[in-house]
């Protein structure tokens, strides 16, 4: 099994103090005058709105992870709404995460991006989309179900890279073009991921991911941070505490996932590839 990850309860309140789940809480209304005749929110409703706002702010607190002189910043990091603890119904669950990589001072690169490895489960079984089945790790690996995370039809293994090599709206490519500390030729690499999975009543759902900073110019990995969530069979969701998975290159099942991406790129049946002209990835 993959190493056990520490998960933190999504609710900042102690068990038993929470209001009974009543489905999605209303979003806070914009601050404006209430027209005459329109009913105003009751004190209880306002208290609920305030509690949810505080809760979301708590969850959205950013996490900074040092990796030598480089830094990973996890911000935001929060669950999707509606996502009440104990809401054991058919619904979508997931996490909204932003990852920023601030390059180390010894890195000089024209392009820093992210390669992401991911595993999702439903009811304890790996949950794979068609384009990922041919490259997912299997039982001969440390753990089955891990794969490089790319949407179907994209040729590059780099998360968020379009087929014309530009950055899609989900990412910003980074660079660090000089080693001089006063230089302004530095762009942090950034990515955004809104993981969403459908869950049926009573079903446990999980996602574990590692976002690897990748220096494409020099073909080296700059470390990776792990994150994820789990929703248990009662409908309670916990976020994994983000952590440095590796200070450098992917190892173990993550390295196998990279190798499997390249094997998929070599498949004779192009319909089994992520894209007919699927590009290979650097394997450390």
């Amino acid at each position: 099994m993959h190493k056990q990850q520490q998960r933190t309860s999504a609710s900042p309140e102690p068990a038993g103090s929470r209001r009974a789940p009543v489905g999605p809480a209303p979003l806070p209304a914009p601050a404006r005058a209430v027209p005459a005749g329109r009913p105003q929110a009751s004190p209880d409703a306002l208290a609920g709105i305030l509690a949810r706002t505080v809760s979301q702010r708590t969850l959205a607190r950013k996490k900074t992870i040092k990796n030598g002189t480089a830094t990973f910043v996890i911000d935001p990091y929060k669950m999707h709404l509606p996502n009440e603890d104990g809401d054991d119904t058919d619904r979508q669950v997931g996490v909204d995460v932003g990852v920023t990589y601030v390059p180390a001072k010894n890195v000089t690169s024209d392009k820093i991006a992210f390669v992401q490895t991911i595993k999702a489960t439903k009811g304890g079984a790996a949950y794979l989309f068609d384009n990922m089945k041919a490259r997912a790790t299997d039982d001969t690996s440390d753990e089955a179900g891990w794969a490089v995370d790319r949407v179907a039809g994209r040729k590059s293994p780099i998360y968020g890279q379009d087929n014309d090599d530009s950055a899609s709206g989900t990412v910003t490519f980074g660079h660090r073009k000089t080693r001089k500390w006063w230089s302004d030729k530095v762009q942090n690499a950034m990515m955004r991921d809104y993981v969403k999975l459908n869950r049926v009543k009573g079903q446990a759902v999980t996602t574990d991911a590692v976002s690897w900073a990748f220096d494409e110019t020099n073909g080296t990995y700059l470390g990776g941070v792990s994150w994820g969530f789990s929703t248990d069979s009662t409908g309670t969701t916990s976020l994994m505490a983000p952590a440095l998975e590796s200070a450098g290159a992917p190892t173990g099942v993550h390295k196998t996932a990279l190798q499997n991406w390249n094997a998929q790129a070599d498949l004779q049946d192009v319909s089994q590839r992520n894209s007919p002209d699927q590009a290979k990835i650097v394997v450390p």
Binding site: I118, Y127, F129, D130, D149, V151, G169, Y194, K196
Partner: protein, 185 residues
């Protein structure tokens, strides 16, 4: 024997199937194929607007899986399957199996656009459906979240694939409306 057929179709809701797995497995399709007159009955159910959407969806899935093939030579039967698929797309709880506009056609999206007739008539009514797409996953879900894709966008994308036309719809939903309007008959 119609009850046997319905029992197989209603065994599992296709809307609850894993994102890209068939709603009926090969064993279930074999059970259906063994029932006298099953193919005609499945076509009838697929094309019946009064039938429950889940049952029409399951009937279409059964017909698409290759064990029952006579329906493909009848334009009316093909139209019935196309209609059932369009209704299923609209009602589905996971659209990964249909596709993501501008990115890929899913398993059922590919089967729908490959039908020789009835596709335009089946998809055009969806071009005004502004319900949001439900996309599962990581990067695909992120793209969907940012682009605010709707049923109308997916229908337009599949229609473009079917017609062999270029999909260059604007990213902004308000501007996509004009692009989609051009696809209407």
């Amino acid at each position: 024997m119609a009850d046997d057929l319905l029992a197989v179709l209603d065994r599992n809701s296709p809307f609850d199937a894993f994102a890209e797995e068939p709603a009926l497995d090969a064993h279930a399709v074999s059970e259906l194929a063994a029932i006298d007159g099953a193919e005609g009955r499945l076509v009838e159910l697929a094309g019946d607007p009064a039938a429950p959407p889940a049952r029409r969806y399951a009937a279409a899935e059964a017909l698409l899986q290759g064990q029952l093939e006579d329906w493909r030579s009848s334009p009316d039967s093909v139209r019935a399957v196309a209609d059932a698929l369009a209704v299923s797309l609209r009602e589905d709880t996971s659209h990964n199996r249909w596709g993501l506009p501008g990115h890929f056609a899913g398993r059922l999206g590919k089967q729908l656009v490959a039908l020789p007739s009835g596709v335009d008539e089946a998809l055009e009514p969806l071009l005004d459906d502004n319900a949001p797409l439900v996309i599962e996953g990581s990067e695909a879900a992120t793209i969907n979240e940012m682009a605010h894709y709707r049923i109308a966008d997916l229908a337009a994308y599949l229609l473009s694939l079917h017609r062999g036309s270029v999909w260059d719809a604007p990213v902004k939903p308000s501007k996509r409306a004009k692009f989609i309007a051009r696809l209407k008959g």
